[in-house]
Subunit: 104 residues, 5 copies
């Protein structure tokens, strides 16, 4: 899975019928240190992720292994919201109450 | 899914029989800001996308999960036409009536 | 699918039995303008493409969706010969009678 | 498969139910010489790998071919712990007793 | 498929049971001219390739379409040993008796 941050949302009214009602998230890749990296994807949300939250997304056929995406033309799905990670025993990220709020 | 813009069309008369009658689009990747990025694909159109329109395309086996591409040697399909997206609460793109017209 | 040009052929006598008798093409990626790009693959030919011809190839599991490649350890197949394409209403490539001849 | 080193772990309490109870590893790619390379993934652990260990991970649909990941939205799995490798007859890496201990 | 050269071997005693007894090769990508390129993979050997030999490897789900790799967590398999290839009518590589010998 790839580590990313939800940076926005996308609206597409005309789409494959299998994806009707699915929320589409813009997810930007991040580095091991939690900084913005190059690259982003548009992913279906299967866990109720909010803007600003660190998430994991799965790609390819694995992105179809959720209730939201089964047998749909979807190749990226957010399947986890990240609470924390550590590298070499050092905590690199921990979710705070301020994360995951939708910008308003 | 990857965010792209339809920049043209491609004609291939000699092709796998499963793809006869399918429209082939040239889709160029775009940045989060909606600018041209490097990279493009040739994708089957499953939603009636027009030149100039912002679209999403799915790759790999997920590209075969539409009526147009089921069990076909197709690894990229345009499966949504984008209306708008926002990043950090700021609208980065909104479709206008001028988009999606075929160049003539 | 990726746009490429057939630049050569490859011979491999010792190979998975499923690929016996299949022609293996060297396909170099091209730009939207039809110029050589970086990157190339070795693809099974399913449409009788000749050296010099512009083609499309499909990758991954989609490469196994032809008669030539069904259930074979093949991850790239040439599944179309390109006649022409246009970008922004301008023709970027049109096949001529000189294309597609095997170098001799 | 890709050669990597386990550099940390990740906690995600809210995730697809199929991944409950699975350990998530941060795996950084390494060069043929065993040095850190760019790129990393988050992978499910199917072999009990410890931080610091050199491992192999499989991606895509192949990542679902273990007991831990069958039919789960998982696109990367650590499926081997590396003992040694050689390039051109020269040993580039050999596991020592100091490897694979979890940082504490 | 990707063109590569077998540059070494890798030993992993602790691995998914489906891969027990399989030989793991280090395969470095090569250019159209046969020179070392960036990038390498660890692939299961399905054709008895030796160190130094030019080979083709298949990736993704296609890597599971051999007897050695069926339903295994394997995403790369060497499925052909290359005898020769030509580009633009010029021979770029031909296997000699000195190739394919294991370094000793």
């Amino acid at each position: 899975m790839i580590l990313g941050r939800v940076v926005g949302t996308l609206v597409a009214n005309r789409k494959d019928e299998g994806l009707l009602g699915q929320k589409l998230l813009l997810v930007r890749n991040v580095t091991l240190g939690g900084e913005d990296a190059s690259g982003f994807v548009v992913a279906v949300d299967s866990v109720g992720a909010g803007e600003g939250e660190m998430v994991l997304y799965a790609s390819g056929s694995s992105a179809r292994q959720t209730h939201a995406t089964h047998e749909k033309p979807c190749d990226a799905v957010v399947m986890a919201i990240v609470d924390s990670w550590e590298v070499g025993g050092e905590e690199m990220f921990r979710k705070t109450s301020a994360d995951g709020e939708w910008a308003s």
